[in-house]
């Protein structure tokens, strides 16, 4: 009964409103692509708009579920999952940066640190290059209590809930004028990422299912035209 009363607007009006809403978010995405607009992104009004969007997506998804419109359910709940994951990332993700200097005589605080009570020390940092001198990869080897582990670009290291990313490097000059390398790592814990990726997987499944459905519908329509 409740579900019958819920759509107080006609299907056509709701679709049109959804279109306007999506176009509004599309325009907002473009506005925030321009330089200097980022500070305006973080604010109570942004959170309020995204919360309303999340509620609408969830309500539409649940309503579609009751009507057994599976594709619509997957699309809307998948998008809702992405927003929930994004919210969790924004509120609960932890991030830190580590800069280690690759020199044996560097002070100990430049070569090691404590993460969750475990000592993490730099073992080595290498930049293999192409014949023209362009960096091929950035490779940091870290010493943990259990042994050596490697972090590379595109190959992060996962350990005890934290993920270590090879972000960048710096060329610096040592105390005696010798060139030294700093490796820059990011350490991150993000409880929202898994939920967001589940949302993405749901959206992908729904999108390909919709494409297959469209192909079958068209094939059926062509057959009917031929028979007519």
């Amino acid at each position: 009964m409740v579900m019958k009363r819920f759509p107080f607007l006609s299907e056509s009006t709701r679709r049109l409103l959804a279109t306007m809403g999506l176009l509004f978010f599309s325009a907002a995405a473009i506005v925030f692509a321009f330089p200097g607009t980022r500070p305006y992104l973080a604010g109570a009004w942004t959170n309020a708009i995204l919360l309303i969007f999340l509620l609408v997506l969830t309500a539409t998804g649940i309503q579609a579920l009751f009507k057994k419109r599976w594709l619509s359910t997957f699309f809307h709940l998948g998008a809702a999952l992405i927003l929930i994951g994004g919210g969790l990332t924004a509120s609960h993700a932890k991030e830190g940066h580590i800069v280690f200097t690759d020199a044996l005589y560097a002070p100990i605080e430049y070569r090691q640190c404590l993460i969750d009570g475990d000592r993490v020390a730099l073992h080595s940092f290498e930049i293999p290059t192409y014949p023209n001198g362009m960096p091929r990869q950035y490779i940091t080897r870290l010493a943990f209590p259990e042994g050596l582990r490697t972090v590379k670009v595109n190959a992060p290291l996962r350990r005890k809930g934290w993920t270590y990313y090879q972000m960048s490097y710096q060329q610096v000059v040592g105390d005696y004028g010798e060139p030294l390398l700093n490796t820059i790592l990011t350490v991150r814990k993000d409880p929202g990422a898994t939920i967001t990726f589940c949302g993405y997987a749901t959206l992908i499944l729904a999108a390909f299912a919709m494409a297959i459905r469209e192909t079958f519908r068209r094939h059926r329509a062509q057959q009917q035209e031929c028979m007519a």
């Binding site: 692509a33 993405y200 997987a201 469209e214 519908r217």
Partner: protein
């Protein structure tokens, strides 16, 4: 605008001439022009792949190399399966792609930076290229009032767009430690995705369908050209326009 005088350059120029030919030749010859473009585009791709020793997708020039091949395949599929002759409109798209390849983009080979050395590199870029071709064709089919075919192309294009966006986001998480960086190119890609999501909410209104498909194609053009090439939108994808 420069004329590329090496072997690859001449092949690219031939591609422009063929797409022009497809535009102006009578219907009987157009199919044969497309049949010639496919092996030519494949040869260009293989040649480039061998020369640079990595999948040719590093910058705008290399990513565009895939488009004539994809466009040719889809035009012929449309012609044989559905009896829709879209070869002239597709040739217009082909010319828009082939011209900058031959005369505008810099073809200097380069090495892959560490961030592009990932198993997700090829599926992410190829996913976008397939999506862009399908969505551009959806627009041309809508112009020719083949509504069902346009809807089918848009649905497949949207599926590949979703896949490519999600793969890019996952890759960003592996490479940079965050699945969304508020990078200008990410933002424009999301804006494009939202336009097509809006399209599927107004499937039965012709004026809206046409306007949104046209807007989507405009966004795709802006994303692949202005956002990549303009210095206004510097971000994590800045290497793409190099």
């Amino acid at each position: 605008m420069t004329l590329k005088t090496d072997f690859l350059g001449w092949l690219l120029t031939s591609q422009v001439i063929l797409s022009l030919g497809t535009l102006f030749l009578p219907k009987a010859f157009r199919k044969w022009c497309w049949l010639t473009i496919i092996p030519l585009a494949l040869t260009i791709l293989c040649l480039r792949w061998i020369t640079v020793a990595h999948p040719p997708m590093r910058n705008l020039f290399e990513a565009f190399l895939w488009l004539p091949l994809l466009l040719g395949c889809m035009t012929l599929i449309s012609l044989w399966r559905d009896r829709h002759d879209t070869s002239r409109l597709d040739a217009t798209l082909g010319f828009i792609v082939a011209f900058p390849l031959a005369f505008v983009f810099d073809a200097a080979p380069g090495q892959l930076p560490p961030v592009l050395q990932s198993a997700l590199f090829v599926p992410h870029v190829l996913g976008y290229m397939i999506a862009y071709v399908l969505l551009a064709r959806a627009f041309t089919l809508e112009c020719l009032r083949h509504t069902r075919a346009a809807g089918e192309n848009a649905a497949w294009g949207f599926a590949f767009l979703t896949l490519a966006l999600a793969l890019g986001s996952y890759w960003g998480n592996e490479a940079w430690g965050a699945y969304w960086q508020w990078d200008p190119k990410e933002q424009w890609s999301l804006a494009t995705w939202l336009i097509y999501a809006a399209f599927f909410h107004v499937l039965h209104r012709r004026a809206w369908r046409f306007s949104l498909l046209a807007l989507g194609v405009l966004f795709i053009l802006l994303t692949v050209t202005w956002i990549n090439l303009s210095k206004l939108f510097l971000g994590m994808h800045s290497y793409a326009g190099v």
